[in-house]
Symmetry: C2
Subunit: 427 residues, 2 copies
């Protein structure tokens, strides 16, 4: 039997897009690792009726647990704990010991900042945060807000609700305790294993894959296959119970045979592959970026330990910077323009030489929205990866907005690095 969960992300700032949610995806992945399948993530503003409706909806889908994030702060718009308590039939009241613990944290925070404190009003905020639904398990605060595990009231059926704070660091810090709570363990008992496999293709259209999957559909029963095209990468994710492993093996063989020229990974992400290749081969890299403005360097250094193989990079927006920091010859700039194959090569060579790196990457282009010409429209990007004894260049005209052009250029550069280091499908 597949055990299912639902997630409620609260916060008007998330609903209106001012903040992008990081908790829903993180929770979905944690649940998957526990063998729990997520059916819906509901994003809801700071309104009690909307939150209640979301809880009722998820309970109605038959999930074993609902996880909420956010809405546990001291302000009046933070109302998750109270609403969940009502929903589960467990009225809330102040937990005096918890109130004291929160008060100590808040007073420390306010004192360190030297704020005047209106003792009465501060206490009201603390008291609000210390309200606990009857019979709920309190999860100790990581910041100031406690979490809760709230089972349905005695005699009622329905999901156990895990109430977690909104700041990702607090939510993640509290997760182990939330999972370990008795009520959570009871709700998740007896779940079955759900396997997941990923295959990544570079340069195959979704329409083409659809043809393959239709041709073989009778061999693939029991597999839930989802595909997603993103920045040129076609990601095929398959989830299945253990007894469908033979069907997955058939799918895996079909993909390996039909897409030998585009299949670049049966698991690791592009970034995993590039980082692994640099680390294993003991090579170093340096970047020289114009239109991507540091995004490639930021992506390469996102990974812990990347200082072992990233020496650095130059963002050279101004031509003078290209000349002085990366030794791009002034006459090459004058003759071909800053956005040209010749300058991409000079950037890659310059980065390699200036940083003393094994591999240099050069990117120059017009991300837009302004700056395009008839010859070099917005989206024109030249890439070059220069490695020991080998250079690879690409001339692209990428569609989309400024941020899309920048992101796709970086992804394409990552594929050039992958192909240079590991072979496989050409970038």
């Amino acid at each position: 039997m597949v055990t299912r969960a639902g997630i409620v992300v609260t916060g008007t700032e998330v609903l209106t897009g001012r903040v992008s949610d990081r908790n829903g995806p993180w929770l979905a992945e944690q649940l998957r690792l526990l063998g729990v399948d997520v059916g819906h993530v509901v994003v809801v503003g700071d309104r009690p009726a909307d939150l209640s409706a979301a809880l009722a909806f998820l309970a109605g889908t038959g999930v074993a647990v609902v996880i909420t994030s956010g809405g546990l702060g001291p302000t009046a718009d933070d109302l998750t704990a109270e609403v969940v308590g009502e929903f589960q039939g467990r009225p809330s009241s102040v937990d005096p010991a918890l109130e004291q613990r929160i008060a100590a944290v808040v007073e420390g925070l306010m004192a360190r900042r030297g704020w005047r404190t209106d003792a009465e009003a501060t206490a009201a905020g603390v008291r609000k945060q210390a309200r606990v639904p009857e019979g709920a398990t309190v999860l100790e605060p990581v910041g100031t807000a406690p979490g809760l595990v709230v089972p349905p009231a005695e005699g009622r059926s329905g999901p156990v609700v895990l109430v977690l704070p909104g700041p990702p660091a607090e939510l993640q810090g509290m997760w182990p305790a939330a999972v370990a709570a008795d009520a959570t363990r009871g709700a998740l008992a007896g779940r079955a294993e759900l396997r997941q496999e990923v295959v990544r293709l570079w340069g195959t259209l979704e329409a083409q894959l659809a043809v393959t999957l239709r041709e073989h559909e009778h061999d693939l029963a029991g597999l839930e296959i989802t595909t997603c095209l993103r920045e040129g990468e076609l990601e095929i994710v398959t989830r299945f119970p253990p007894d469908a492993q033979p069907a997955y093996d058939r799918l895996s063989a079909v993909l390996a045979a039909d897409y030998a020229d585009t299949l670049f990974s049966t698991g690791p992400t592009l970034d995993d592959l590039v980082a692994g290749a640099f680390a294993e081969r003991g090579l170093t890299v340096a970047t020289a970026e114009s239109c991507t403005g540091g995004l490639l360097a930021a992506r390469l250094t996102e990974r812990p330990g990347s200082s072992a193989w990233v020496l650095g990079g130059v963002t050279a927006y101004a031509n003078s910077a290209k000349e002085q920091l990366l030794d791009v010859p002034a006459d090459v700039l004058a003759e071909h323009g800053a956005v040209s194959p010749e300058v991409a090569i000079a950037l890659a060579d310059g980065a390699r030489a200036r940083f003393g790196a094994d591999v240099g990457v050069g990117i120059t282009g017009i991300a837009g929205p302004g700056g395009g010409t008839e010859d070099k429209p917005v989206g024109t990007v030249h890439l070059c990866v220069a490695g020991p004894g080998r250079r690879e260049s690409r001339a692209l005209v990428l569609p989309g907005s400024r941020s899309t052009v920048r992101e796709r250029s970086v992804t394409r550069a990552m594929h050039l690095l992958r192909a240079l280091l590991l072979g496989g499908p050409p970038a």
Copy 2:
């Protein structure tokens, strides 16, 4: 009367967090500009029953329109159009003219890539994409997938459903036509104005603001106030109908009086302010980053037209790069270590000198998870902004993960730039 809408984002890749949703926030903002209030965004995987349940839930909340994104591709897991048709009581059938138009697009795509085409299987994918619920309005494809506007069947009540594709560029391209469709205009007729104002504080805790709001709550009727703390910025967003404008003016006056020392914006974002200040004052900037690895440069250059004031930057991970590209003296590195106030100053000065910029920014720190020591734990970050005739430095110990430390360091550097250029609350 407030007109409300619901949003359904489909796709297992979004539900499981492999892709972060950009459509929900974009749609919520477009709807807000139209005066339509969004109550819920539901993220759902590629499963018909889950999608139907989400539609039923949103219809039950009394919304005037539901907007779906995704699930319109040629693969079998893309099922939104069919499910919406069934939900609205409008069975689908193939639109032959539409089928021909899609086929022409797909054949062009496949031919350009030189793929073998199994004509029969390809046609099956196209035919699927050309299925249209009876009585629905077709929105012409921006990519290969058409969108739909699907009203409830004759004699039924319920929301109009706008069915849009998942790729953000396609969805955004199709949005004007979706809004202009007769059924959409009918559903949204008669909506009332909803105002929104934003105030941003730097260095005020949510607990402190809660005190203020409680003290004044009787003066603030009719305002929906939501607060969000993010990377040290406390954002206060207030939504209200026009007749609550006097209440908002009272709130605005209270915030201006009580938070004069932390209020840095009554609207524009931090990035807006910094970009505007550079542009208006005709100043230029260059960056020298260690632990943030290019993130500050990438953030500064995210904005169209930033090439007018960003000259560039250096990501100097290796000490040799700090010395050779930014003139950080070897003896300063040896004496104080790469993560020190002295090196942050040398980085800022080096960036300023090397790029010939008016303002230089230096960042050096330990983002973790490795590399910390007792003296300099993970999260230790030194910042320096050097401008004409003035330098500001900060020594921080930031909590959180590697990515959190990196992002907060960049935000803090942006605040240093803001304070240097515009004054206001100290960073």
